[in-house]
């Protein structure tokens, strides 16, 4: 870390809930939502800091505080340079104005002076790949061009602290690569980059350090790989038998006629490739379930779905139930995974209702098989499943 550029000190943010006007009558009633509580961290020049966490964890709020869009309720943020935000590219574009005019407008909104924009105009146009249309009103642009132009303006900001929220979902694959390259350049030129994303591979590629936010708290600050594991609940050090009763349910629209209460992986976390995953699951049913089914999703460490399995649960009676499940994961490539469990019920008309859903029921790791032919080499970028092949 170079010289410190940003320091967040015990920052909290509370929002008042309820409707204005009604508050007057019930002033003593305190209905507040804590979006951030007691966040502290520091970052220096040349650092690219990833910020990850589930939706509603407070990432956007944190960025809004750093960019002065709204103020903290407590604590303070110290900065040693200008902040440029790329929270949503293309903000402030005026549809009637041409691309060139919008570069000026957008640049000025982001804090550039007219002279600064004059100087960088050609570079910005080149980077945006929109030169042909630069004197056309942006309302005639495709959405891709719109975003490209927006990113290009923001990318040429001369700020010491650069904040980015999901901007990489911009344009086609080629332009995305260009963007990543540009962000790397920005951080290598000694700037401090704060990067919020749900794409774990981008975070891995770009960031040198990572923060994990969960329900407004900073739960981890450090090494990128560990942060990602923490976020994806791939923490393999915990007990393989877990109480699911009080785990947070993140899915909507569940019927709630069943409730999974306990899972046990029979004391194991690591499975050698080729082995099967066995677990015991307890669930409580509020009534007899008709044609119940368990859906198990296997999610890989980069946050993508890798595989799926279904099994009908026979004899799901009202009350406590226990089943033992075997899932053939023998073809999963080595790596860390988490198990998502969804309990469904369907009737004869084919309608299916989710009765309970758990995003992180369990985490496990698939290890390299001990004796394997040398040609069976595995790379994380090659996929999640190995398909058997033979010569005929």
């Amino acid at each position: 870390m170079g010289t410190p550029m940003i320091r967040v000190e015990h920052v909290s943010k509370e929002y008042r809930l309820g409707v204005i006007g009604q508050q007057m009558r019930r002033r003593n009633e305190k209905e507040t939502l804590t979006a951030l509580s007691d966040i502290s961290f520091e970052a220096g020049t040349g650092e690219t800091l990833g910020i990850i966490g589930p939706n509603g964890a407070g990432k956007s709020t944190l960025l809004k505080l750093i960019t002065k869009i709204t103020r903290p309720s407590a604590g303070r943020i110290l900065l040693n340079g200008r902040v440029a935000s790329m929270i949503e590219v293309g903000t402030g574009f005026h549809p009637e104005l041409t691309g060139r005019e919008n570069i000026y407008l957008n640049g000025a909104v982001l804090g550039m002076s007219m002279r600064e924009i004059d100087r960088k105009l050609e570079e910005i146009i080149d980077f945006s790949e929109c030169r042909k249309f630069i004197d056309t009103p942006v309302k005639r642009y495709s959405s891709g061009m719109y975003l490209k132009l927006g990113f290009s303006v923001a990318a040429y900001l001369d700020a010491e602290v650069v904040i980015m929220d999901e901007v990489l979902a911009v344009g086609d694959a080629a332009f995305q690569n260009k963007c990543i390259q540009k962000i790397r350049e920005i951080s290598e030129s000694g700037k401090t980059v704060l990067f919020v994303s749900h794409n774990m591979n981008t975070v891995r590629n770009l960031c040198s350090r990572c923060l994990v936010l969960d329900q407004g708290r900073l739960t981890y600050d450090g090494e990128v790989e560990l942060a990602i594991q923490r976020y994806l609940s791939l923490d393999l050090s915990s007990d393989p038998a877990q109480d699911l009763d009080h785990q947070r349910r993140v899915f909507h629209k569940t019927g709630e006629m069943a409730h999974m209460t306990y899972i046990d992986l029979f004391g194991r976390r690591v499975f050698e490739m080729g082995e099967a995953l066995r677990f015991r699951l307890r669930y409580r049913a509020l009534r007899d379930l008709e044609q119940p089914c368990l859906r198990a999703g296997v999610w890989a460490a980069d946050g993508t779905a890798a595989a799926i399995g279904f099994v009908p649960l026979t004899g799901a009676r009202k009350g406590e139930n226990e089943v033992q499940i075997c899932m053939d994961i023998s073809r999963l490539l080595p790596g860390k995974y988490r198990l998502e469990l969804v309990l469904t019920e369907s009737d004869d008309s084919g309608r299916m209702v989710k009765q309970d859903a758990l995003r992180n029921a369990a985490a496990f790791e698939v290890a390299l098989p001990k004796d394997r032919p040398l040609y069976r080499a595995y790379n994380r970028d090659w996929g999640y499943v190995e398909l058997p092949m033979s010569v005929e």
């Binding site: 204005i20 750093i66 407590a74 303070r76 407008l105």
Partner: protein, 293 residues
């Protein structure tokens, strides 16, 4: 030790209830944006109209004609600010026109400024720029419209004088007019900003604006001359900061009418007070307004 540390840092973001700030320096840093916003307002206003920028002239001309007929000919309001002088003859049309142009600027700016926070919330919740930029830009773009209209007014005045229909004694005093326009801008900004702060929490303020402006118009010598105000009420009447602005404007343009230092100084004092109060209140609200709106 802690204080010393803070000084190593260039910027500090603290909870909203800090010490009051005017924020003029930051506004100056963003002067380019002020210019672009004002230009955008000005150029996009007459888009998709048949007559285009011609409206800039038509608007005051038509209103002035209506004023002249309704208030001048039908209601027979006096169009003099002071005792009738023998040598001066200002047609009612020009009398109404200057008041109309200034009042139009004033009411439009108050209305636009009072809406800045609610109208720009989409962009303001995405990116930070000094919030004062938007109201100042609306005031300036209205200022540009007014400048064009004033030009028309002076053309008519000069034309009338050349034809001998108008006899006025224009002196060097007319060059004080920009000072008056500045005051008008500060007054409308101050009033508009205070209303905009109220609108953030209670939209009622937005509905009140039009009524409030109409009431204010009747209390200001725009559709009638100061002569109509009974002598014993004149002291109270001139407490309205907009009243001396109107009479002074006519005094500067026609070289005759009503001009007293007292009301002018009072009007300036009220203007500055409203302006500073407006800016301070606005800056205080601006810090957290995206949470409330």
């Amino acid at each position: 030790m802690e204080i010393q540390r803070k000084e190593q840092w260039k910027y500090c973001i603290e909870p909203g209830k800090g010490k009051p700030e005017l924020g003029f320096r930051e506004l100056w840093q963003y002067r380019g944006l002020v210019y672009l916003f004002a230009k955008r307002d000005f150029t996009s206003r007459y888009r998709q109209t048949l007559l285009g920028p011609l409206w800039m002239f038509l608007n005051p001309l038509l209103t002035t004609i209506v004023f002249t007929i309704v208030f001048g000919n039908m209601a027979n309001f006096p169009t003099m600010d002071g005792p009738v002088s023998e040598t001066m003859a200002v047609p009612a049309f020009l009398f109404y026109m200057i008041g109309n142009i200034l009042w139009n600027y004033f009411s439009n700016t108050v209305r636009d400024v009072s809406k800045t926070l609610t109208a720009n919330v989409r962009i303001m919740e995405k990116v930070y720029y000094p919030r004062l930029v938007s109201p100042v830009a609306s005031a300036l773009s209205n200022q540009m419209t007014m400048a064009v209209r004033l030009l028309l007014f002076f053309c008519l005045l000069a034309g009338g004088a050349l034809c001998g229909r108008v006899s006025v004694s224009v002196t060097w005093m007319v060059f004080l007019l920009p000072l008056l326009l500045l005051q008008l801008m500060l007054l409308s900004l101050g009033t508009g900003l205070i209303i905009s702060v109220l609108t953030v929490k209670y939209r009622d303020a937005g509905f009140m604006v039009d009524f409030f402006l109409q009431l204010w118009l009747y209390m200001t010598p725009v559709v009638y001359g100061l002569q109509m105000v009974p002598g014993r009420w004149i002291g109270l009447y001139l407490l309205n900061p907009a009243a001396p602005i109107m009479t002074t404007a006519r005094y500067l343009c026609f070289g005759d009418g009503y001009f007293q230092a007292g009301p002018v100084l009072w009007s300036w004092a009220v203007t500055l007070l409203l302006f500073l109060a407006g800016v301070l209140l606005f800056n205080r609200t601006e810090k957290n307004f995206v949470d409330v709106i």
